[in-house]
């Protein structure tokens, strides 16, 4: 017979907690890394591209600074909805885990089907965009600035060739999987390096622009353009061409046009809750750091974007930027997709500088692809552990690879991606719906935030999320904000044709309400297969 229970070892944690030897887990993601995870989906590079490529033209007269100010509370609403709920339920799985635990499992499945649909569309977009907004413009821009026509031609070929686009997109999937092959520690190192690269690219462009006067930029631009256009003042020609084409380069302030700009910014800037998907892997996930890092992950990029718009307007001229994105650039020198890197490189007039900033910028693609895929892998695992998916999807092969989960995720992403390449027009119509379907899931998390003090009072009271403003729970205030934001962005996308919903209600419903219905049907199907009474399964036991 074996001896009596072993003696215990105790220790004291840095926060003063006394612990004993018992089963547990050291979580892998430190708070600083979680802040970066939250900043990646709304990285300023994306929002800056949205400003310079889209918002100024779509919404003439809209004030980008006011729009950013309006987006800030929207971003914070999602940050605090997700963050405070994750503090209460520190499990991996994001919206699925939060909504299923607070409202009802069926609502959790509705949410995860919506979020995953958006995730797969986003994966496909990033796989497409690495070529069309990354490699192709890089080659074209460096070729133009350095005087390498072969490189310009190559950039143009790559950007329009389906085999190239498919090959490079699939390579991006492979790279994003490869950088996740090992644990969090090496992954965080790679993540931080890539994040540092793309942020440095933006900062370098900003600092260079800060110290460059508008006349100096215009002179360098004219010198560069003259090689292709023989126009000694291409800067002014760009503006006048756009004006002739109907672009208002000096629009008067318009609040009504600021509203669609808010919707555009919201599309890129409100996803600062990404650490929620790895909630079970965050260190100190139950502490207030979780929500705080989501709030900072949303607010810091917005601040950077505001600063950089100011700098770029000052150095390049807001009229020139509006004209350039309104089609005014001479045909021979337009290189769409990377406006500020391109313009900064022209402003410096040095090919090595161009290569430097573009290579740094290329770090963005594997970074965003890996972040985007976190949602699907964690959702699959969370559902499998809840018994909704067969546990075999989390099983590994003899070499330790969770091949089925990986195959499911890769195949679904690849199908959407290849469709995107084959039918880019159709895909971009659908891509607009990605934001809207994702907002259904985000709105449900907002609803969970509103309801949690009422539906799960013990959980709420026992957490660090028990903060109030004027006696109202902060998580509920944030939830109301999240719901209102969801309604607003939906309204804006349906109201403004320029935002691209295409007024095709059938397609809109298929891609937004469709996944929600599928989620509900999936839940009912799982319960039917298991032969259980869904109501009894989740009915709360009255405690003694």
């Amino acid at each position: 017979m074996s001896p009596d229970p072993g003696s215990e070892t105790t220790s004291v944690t840095s926060s003063g907690l006394f612990t004993r030897s018992a089963t547990g887990l050291v979580r892998g993601v430190p708070p600083r890394a979680s802040l970066i995870i939250n900043m990646i989906p709304g990285h300023p590079t994306q929002t800056m591209a949205a400003v310079l490529l889209f918002a100024l033209v779509v919404a003439p007269g809209g004030n980008p600074f006011l729009a950013l100010l309006i987006v800030l509370p929207m971003t914070l609403a999602f940050a605090y909805s997700f963050g405070l709920l994750t503090q209460m339920i520190p499990r991996s799985g994001g919206d699925y885990m939060l909504v299923s635990r607070v409202i009802h499992p069926m609502v959790g499945y509705i949410s995860v089907f919506c979020m995953t649909t958006a995730g797969l569309l986003s994966n496909a977009f990033f796989a497409l965009a690495i070529t069309t907004a990354g490699i192709a413009p890089l080659c074209s821009a460096v070729g133009l600035i350095g005087g390498y026509p072969g490189l310009v031609t190559f950039g143009s070929t790559v950007g329009t060739s389906k085999p190239w686009i498919i090959g490079l997109g699939l390579a991006l999937f492979a790279v994003s999987a490869a950088i996740q092959l090992r644990g969090w520690r090496p992954l965080i190192r790679i993540q931080n390096i890539l994040f540092g690269m793309v942020t440095a690219a933006l900062l370098v462009c900003g600092v260079v622009a800060l110290f460059q006067s508008q006349s100096s930029f215009a002179a360098n631009f004219n010198k560069f353009a003259a090689k292709f256009t023989n126009d000694p003042n291409a800067y002014q020609t760009t503006i006048s061409t756009a004006v002739k084409a109907g672009v208002n380069v000096h629009p008067a302030f318009s609040f009504s046009n600021t509203i669609p700009m808010v919707a555009v910014f919201a599309t890129t800037a409100i996803f600062c809750y990404w650490a929620s998907f790895v909630g079970g892997e965050l260190r100190q996930a139950s502490s207030t750091k979780t929500a705080r890092n989501m709030a900072l992950g949303g607010a810091i990029p917005l601040g950077i974007v505001a600063l950089f718009i100011l700098i770029f307007f000052h150095s390049y001229g807001s009229d020139f930027l509006r004209a350039a994105q309104g089609g005014g650039l001479p045909a021979g020198i337009s290189a769409p997709g990377t406006p500020f890197f391109y313009l900064s490189s022209i402003g410096v007039g040095n090919v090595y500088y161009a290569i430097f900033v573009f290579i740094l910028y290329m770090g963005f693609w594997p970074l965003i692809a890996y972040i985007s895929s976190l949602q699907q892998t964690r959702a699959i695992f969370a559902m499998a552990f809840d018994g909704a998916l067969p546990k075999s999807v989390t099983r590994v092969n003899s070499r330790g690879c969770p091949w089925l989960a990986l195959v499911i995720s890769m195949v679904l992403s690849a199908i959407v991606f290849i469709y995107a390449v084959v039918n880019q027009t159709g895909f971009f119509q659908i891509l607009v719906y990605a934001t809207l379907v994702q907002l259904i899931a985000m709105g449900l998390v907002g609803l969970a935030g509103i309801l949690v003090p009422k539906l799960r009072p013990e959980l709420y009271r026992a957490s660090t999320s028990q903060k109030t403003i004027a006696g109202i729970p902060l998580v509920s205030i944030a939830g109301v904000g999240a719901l209102l934001t969801t309604i607003f962005v939906w309204w804006a996308y349906l109201h403004y044709d320029s935002l691209g919903t295409n007024s095709n209600m059938t397609k809109l419903l298929v891609w937004t309400v469709g996944p929600a219905v599928l989620g509900a049907v999936f839940f009912l199907g799982v319960r039917m297969v298991k032969g259980a009474d869904a109501d009894a399964i989740y009915k709360e036991i009255p405690p003694e």
């Binding site: 215990e8 006394f18 018992a22 089963t23 499990r91 892997e281 990986l406 009271r461 660090t464």
Partner: protein, 328 residues
């Protein structure tokens, strides 16, 4: 009122309904729900599979004037009133930890002395567990629901005497008890874990320990084996693999699930083929599977969400009629 409607009346006359849960790890809320589950699901008996105790103490520094201060889940909590203190202590208990009120001097002394900390753990665990047993002894007799309490690998030796000393509660650890017409054996020990928890045994010793008890069972075909560790590679024992530093191992961008159950437990189940085997230990591996004729169940756990994960099992003397995994 039973969970399964019309079938219950017929079956309950021929058999019984059990509620089983495990791994509540110091959560006061889960213990109260465990006791409430009998009435809620119309069970004849409730069985706890072990790991009742919490893993941490939150020291609360109290000044002579009654004001207090602590760091709880990374947040400084301070207050002066009795109500604030009660709220804080309830929050700590909800999360499966033990609040400990102490003066500055006591706190500093204990912080620096491992022996004092060990004694403190024993004291708070015993006090809390005794409160739980008193609650069960007070409430459950009036409902006519039997309560069986086993222990798990995380429960220190000081727990045995508390559970053994309860009145209405039947202590089941390391013995054979009767649950209706069924003999039930219970073993708290688990196969070795990376944490060196209080009740772990190498597989061969674990086998010997269970075997010694199983050999005394008169009729294994109708018996219940309440073994804390789940059987190896049955889908009831899937946990994410860890590195040596107890961080999660990632492969292919995801946590890496592997079977971590006990080969001894699986061997015992295969050899004796009891009617039912009940398990916990691996919180994330909830499920029910057949191993030969044995219905094996791991209810899993999410104790610090305030939900109790359990199973309602309807059985006759020779057959498991239905089993349902529930969240309450």
């Amino acid at each position: 009122m039973g969970l399964f409607g019309p079938r219950k009346g017929v079956e309950s006359s021929a058999g019984m309904t059990l509620y089983f849960a495990s791994d509540i790890h110091g959560s006061d809320q889960c213990w109260r729900k465990f006791l409430g589950a009998g009435k809620h699901y119309g069970a004849d008996a409730v069985i706890m599979g072990g790991d009742l105790t919490g893993k941490a103490i939150v020291p609360i520094e109290q000044a002579p004037d009654g004001s207090f201060r602590t760091t709880f889940m990374g947040e400084v909590r301070a207050g002066k009133t009795e109500q604030q203190l009660d709220e804080l202590m309830a929050a700590i208990r909800f999360n499966g930890m033990y609040p400990w009120l102490a003066s500055t001097a006591e706190l500093e002394l204990t912080r620096d002395d491992a022996e004092l900390r060990t004694r403190l753990f024993d004291k708070v665990i015993v006090d809390e567990l005794k409160g739980w047993m008193d609650l069960a002894d007070d409430r459950m007799p009036r409902y006519g629901i039997d309560v069986f309490v086993g222990l798990g690998n995380d429960d220190p030796g000081s727990c045995d005497s508390v559970v053994n000393g309860a009145g209405h509660v039947t202590a089941v650890n390391d013995r054979i008890v009767r649950v209706g017409p069924h003999e039930m054996i219970s073993i708290a020990y688990a196969n070795p874990t990376p944490w060196d928890s209080p009740r772990e045994l190498p597989e061969d010793e674990l086998y010997d320990r269970i075997h010694a008890l199983a050999e005394q069972v008169e009729n294994p075909a109708t018996a219940i084996f309440n073994l804390h560790a789940p059987p190896y590679d049955t889908g009831l024992d899937t946990a994410n693999e860890m590195n040596e530093d107890l961080t999660l191992k990632y492969i292919g961008g995801s946590p890496h699930p592997i079977p971590v159950g006990s080969t001894a437990v699986r061997q015992i189940i295969e050899e004796y083929q009891p009617l039912l085997s009940l398990h916990g230990h691996i919180h994330e591996s909830r499920g029910a599977v057949r191993i030969g004729r044995t219905m094996a169940i791991n209810t899993g756990s999410e104790y610090n969400s305030g939900h109790i994960y359990g199973a309602v099992i309807q059985l006759t003397e020779t057959e498991v009629l239905r089993e349902r995994l529930l969240v309450g």
